[in-house]
Symmetry: C2
Subunit: 249 residues, 2 copies
């Protein structure tokens, strides 16, 4: 690991610590996506340091001294370190206010909690175990060991008997609201909730592309010539250029 | 049944059709509460017509000609009839704009969908069957017959094996957001989401007071001298006088 020295890095450039996987320079973690998409949407200059699971604590433990588990994303901006995707978007909003992602922080925070707990939780057992297949070798060993310790069972057994249809009710809330108030999750403009849901779906797509197609098509449009509601929104938000290729290092 | 004649009623007074129960002049239905609380919060002059379940369709079927099932609440304002709690609050907001309940209609609508599907659904089987016990005699017979036809089982069997703890995750989203952004669900001011959740909890309290006490105390405040988060919010919103005694007819 070679983290840039914060005292010599260009103070205008954010250093973004993202989770490594088997495909170089490729984001997959939903929480890292949330921070990455916010950086990209706000055109913040940043460079990425890719970190494998077992290297997170040695490299970044100092940023989360109270935490039992050290987590990404983390950003470093000059002398300032920020971790947790919600804290990062608040930091970015304060320091790079245009374009705004948090015109209504309260409802954005509510949506994030809703996404991270209720919506993701509904199909967590189907998607999370598949993460092992996309990780780098050291990350995979670490991920499987720690998750199986937490769960008390084999990862391949976690999702048995569960179906992607369990997301229908929580995602239906989003789809019905989009149908009435779109084109974005908070109405006329892109806001943080759009990036939160996009992050979840990009993660789903990487871990389990077949079930993700089912999800994207779950809610047909009332206009038969248009794509299903969630798919149309997904293509619209991706089309804004918030999902960008990472330049090779 | 004696519905007021709309052509002779004071055109400034809203006629509010609410669901009858065994206790005279007492609201219990969560959907009717939503409309009633909005009327009360906005100080709209209104009077109530209490309707037993089997009388809804004969009396008000004409207001919902496309519907398979005729539902309350319904309001009548001069020559205008409006049904569905969401449509009613939108109508009230347009005609009685102060104080506003929908400064952000999109997030209010999202919260209502979330409340009505995800949050209520989590404990629906525990609370809904108990409604039979609070209804008037004719309403009870109608309610039990139609619900058991829909469910294909006895009402007393519906909630077996389920627990009030199932609301912990969806209510936790609300509690954590309140802790960070309170004192009301959308921040500094009462808005429609507060009335929506209050309606749900008033219904719960009527149908199942013991489990409702458990719900109100589920999320302790980080400040030990303060009431649990949801209870503190509940008492605060009730204390605004939005829940009012109905004058005897």
């Amino acid at each position: 690991m070679s983290a840039p020295n914060p005292t010599t890095a260009d103070p205008g450039t954010v250093i973004f610590y993202d989770l490594k996987c088997a495909t170089p320079n490729t984001c997959w973690s939903p929480h890292c996506w949330k921070a990455r998409l916010a950086l990209q949407y706000k055109h913040v200059p940043f460079r990425t340091v890719w970190v494998s699971y077992p290297d997170i604590k040695p490299l970044l433990g100092h940023t989360q001294p109270e935490a039992k588990t050290v987590t990404l994303p983390v950003i470093q901006h000059g002398q300032t370190w920020v971790f947790d995707s919600w804290e990062i978007v608040r930091y970015l909003e304060a320091h790079f206010p245009t374009p705004s992602l948090l015109p209504n922080p309260q409802s954005a925070h509510f949506f994030k909690l809703y996404n991270d707990t209720v919506l993701v939780e509904s199909v967590w057992n189907l998607f999370a175990p598949r993460v092992a297949n996309i990780l780098d070798e050291r990350g995979k060993v670490f991920f499987v060991r720690t998750r199986e310790e937490d769960l008390g069972m084999k990862l391949e057994d976690v999702g048995r008997g569960e179906t992607v249809d369990q997301i229908r009710r929580p995602l239906g809330v989003v789809a019905r609201n989009l149908a009435q108030f779109g084109p974005y999750l908070a109405g006329e403009e892109v806001t943080y909730p759009d990036l939160v849901l996009l992050s979840t779906l990009l993660w789903f797509q990487r871990a389990n592309p077949v079930d993700t197609e089912t999800i994207l098509d779950m809610f047909p449009s009332s206009n038969v010539s248009r794509a299903p509601i969630v798919r149309e929104w997904f293509d619209r938000v991706k089309g804004l250029g918030v999902v960008q290729e990472e330049p090779a290092e």
